[in-house]
């Protein structure tokens, strides 16, 4: 995690410093917008840096397998993450959003259709994620899950995805 948070910290500090220098020398009132945007960048990246640093400290600075120069495939054994199968909900949600915003041009009824589709898709997406955690396991997966200390189900939100 070290390289990650340091990179983001660098970006944040660069934007902060640029904002200070630019703000000190700007000579036209409208240039305040540029200073604001640079400051926004400083805070936005700062937020991300703070999160990454927090994760790093919470892990007691122990490097993950992908941070270690000598790690082998064996170190990455176990769950990598939750990779859902094909799903219709993203397309439905996208269609809902597109119809919804086109409604800003062509009338409210368009937006209402889009909104219904959008929230329906949100609901479908959520229930799909719920259902996925209760998929019956094959025998091989049962073994892996038991070995990982979670007999009987696949962890949809493994903690080491941070």
């Amino acid at each position: 995690m070290k390289v990650e948070w340091r990179t983001v910290l660098g970006a944040s500090l660069f934007l902060g410093a640029t904002a200070l220098v630019y703000g000190a020398y700007k000579n036209h009132p409208v240039e305040a917008s540029g200073v604001t945007m640079l400051a926004f960048g400083f805070f936005a990246y700062g937020l991300l840096f703070g999160y990454l640093l927090l994760v790093y400290l919470r892990r007691d600075r122990i490097p993950r397998p992908e941070d270690r120069f000598d790690a082998t495939s064996a170190d990455g054994e176990g769950e990598v993450g939750y990779f859902p199968n094909a799903s219709i909900w993203p397309a439905a949600m996208g269609l809902g959003m597109i119809i919804g915003v086109v409604g800003f041009i062509y009338g409210l009824w368009f937006t209402i259709i889009g909104g219904v589709l959008f929230f329906g898709a949100v609901f479908g997406w959520m229930t799909e994620a719920e259902a996925a955690t209760e998929v019956p396991l094959t025998e091989d997966e049962e073994d892996t899950a038991t070995a990982a200390g979670h007999p009987g189900h696949i962890d949809a939100h493994p903690e080491h995805i941070d």
Binding site: S73, F83, P84, A86, S87, A91, F104
Partner: protein, 558 residues
């Protein structure tokens, strides 16, 4: 000091990576296209859609050049001409150049290159694609409305974009369309950053990732900062147009320059969003085709990071002539950005130096990139100086400059990337003879088209004029430029023919046709679902090379 790391024998044995996936049948055909959460399928969707956008916008460009081929021409009306150049620019930038690289190639290649089974948020990834396609369709559908598509130029300067000057739904559709592609870009950025930060294979430390992945990472950080600003600018514009706002309306105390500030604060990082991934493509192609590791790997990454950082502070060099910007500040930062770009050039040449070079189409396109982009960069340095920019602002010199950067640079590298990764994506090689012919025709056509435009600019021809009088001394150069545009179009078509021809008739490629170095060449072509059965040990930035050439291990120093 460099050391060859010791590699215990057992590390060379392929070990399985375990992962859990939700079981179920995999859909095919149209259902697969619509519902797939596989990063490779979504990447291909992006690549195909953006290439269609490229051809469409290219067609618009041929319309522009046909109108300008002779003085006092009436091929299209003035209004249609304005729509042509506006939509040409918008589609090329928002639909082709950006998404082709960061969403298309990025989606397809980043998980493969870092040894991940998929992107971090597969369904979110699918959603981004639909927003992107929706944006493309919405902005293009402007052509079908009564007043036509948006016609105020791709950077939509206020107050021309206000409702009173640009009435009709075409302009609104442009705003909505671009905003949708913007949201798609933001979602993709979140996805790619999370993937790179959390899903790397064991041993794939940040400083062993391919330069392509590093460039994508920096690009995504730029995008995360740039696109929200654009969306905010659009929100204000929407309020101006429909809700009686006056943010950009000078007659009511609004500030048109505010739009320029907001737009270019997005727009200049956007230019680097359109360039950095292509730098990555060139780096990978040159290294593989020279059979050498990237020369100055860490220097390359440092250069990418400094280009990314500096690009956030140069936006107002598009606005020198407004008189409302701090000239020395922006001129200094704009000139500074040439330094890391120059470092990249030295490293690319260093990568080729004494390499065993395979002179194939992908390599040729990347060499074309080097020359064209260098030329565009040099005219960029000319334009970064306020004294010269005041002379050249809004002339064809600018047009020539950014086409050398975006077309001669990025698009050439993108085509090189197609030739390079096509075998991985389809399992078949592209035809080399047709490819080399395409390169040659495109190179000649491109230079015939855009080189004369420098001189046109110096002779005072403003950009975006719909026609011109015969006595201006511009006739011959415009004729040459238009002919060049047609030749370049043929060059692109040859590649399109090649894409279709090779899909059926191409030679079977095998897993690693180029003797590649990075992880994507370790899996089959095309890669299976969730990518890797087994990974080679990752001990340097080119694990596949190390696995295939144990006698020539990459030297690592750290």
């Amino acid at each position: 000091m460099t050391l060859i790391q010791d590699r215990p024998e057992e590390h060379l044995v392929h070990e399985p990576v375990l992962m859990e996936i939700v079981p179920g049948p995999r859909p095919r055909g149209l259902v697969k296209y619509i519902t797939s959460t596989d990063h490779k399928q979504i990447g291909l969707n992006y690549l195909v859609t953006s290439f269609i956008g490229f051809l469409f916008a290219g067609l618009l460009a041929e319309g522009i050049r046909t109108q300008l081929i002779v003085p006092n021409n009436h091929f299209v009306t003035e209004s249609v001409y304005n729509q042509l150049f506006t939509m040409h620019g918008t589609i090329m930038l928002f639909v082709f150049l950006g998404p082709f690289a960061f969403a298309g190639l990025g989606n397809y290649l980043i998980p493969l290159m870092i040894g991940a089974p998929d992107m971090a948020f597969p369904r979110f990834n699918n959603l981004s694609y639909w927003l992107y396609l929706g944006g493309f369709l919405v902005m293009s559908c402007g052509f079908l409305t009564n007043n036509g598509a948006a016609n105020f130029g791709w950077f939509g300067y206020a107050p021309l974009t206000e409702a009173i000057h640009s009435p009709g739904p075409g302009a609104d559709m442009w705003i909505i369309g671009v905003a949708l592609t913007g949201f798609s870009g933001i979602f993709t950025a979140v996805n790619i950053i999370t993937t790179i930060f959390t899903l790397r294979a064991p041993g794939m430390v940040m400083f062993r990732m391919p330069v392509f992945v590093w460039n994508q990472l920096v690009t995504m950080f730029l995008l995360l900062l740039a696109f929200p600003v654009l969306t905010a600018a659009f929100a204000l514009l929407w309020i101006d147009r429909h809700l009686d706002g006056h943010f950009y309306d000078p007659t009511h105390g609004g500030q048109p320059i505010l739009w320029q500030n907001l737009f270019w604060f997005f727009g200049h990082p956007e230019v680097y969003i359109l360039a950095l991934p292509y730098f990555g493509i060139v780096t990978e192609v040159l290294a593989t085709m020279s059979k050498k590791p990237v020369f100055g790997y860490k220097g390359m990454i440092g250069a990418t990071l400094s280009i990314g950082a500096l690009s956030m502070g140069v936006w107002a060099h598009h606005m020198y002539t407004t008189g409302a910007v701090l000239l020395p500040f922006f001129a200094a930062l704009s000139l500074l950005i040439a330094v890391p770009t120059g470092i990249k050039f030295f490293n690319w040449i260093g990568t080729m130096w004494r390499g065993t070079i395979t002179l194939n189409t992908a390599f040729l396109f990347c060499c074309g990139f080097l020359v064209m982009f260098l030329f565009g960069g040099i005219t960029g340095i000319i334009l970064a100086q306020p004294v010269l920019d005041f002379q050249l602002h809004n002339t064809y010199f600018i047009v020539a400059h950014f086409h050398y950067v975006m077309f001669g640079g990025s698009a050439f590298a993108g085509l090189g990337g197609i030739y390079y990764w096509y075998p991985k994506m389809t399992g078949r090689m592209m035809d080399e003879r047709l490819g080399k012919l395409s390169f040659l025709v495109l190179l000649i056509g491109f230079n015939l088209c855009f080189f004369p435009q420098h001189d046109l600019g110096l002779r005072g021809m403003p950009r975006r004029i719909e026609t011109y009088n015969a006595g201006m001394g511009w006739n011959f150069l415009n004729m040459i430029s238009s002919i060049g545009a047609y030749i370049a179009g043929i060059g692109v078509l040859l590649t399109v023919i090649n894409l279709f021809y090779s899909y059926r008739r191409g030679q079977i490629a095998g897993d690693n046709p180029w003797d590649g170095q990075t992880l994507e060449w370790a899996c089959s072509s095309p890669p299976p679902d969730h990518n890797f059965e087994a990974l080679p040990p990752i001990r340097s930035e080119r694990p596949v090379w190390d696995a295939n050439h144990p006698d020539q291990l990459t030297k690592v120093g750290h």
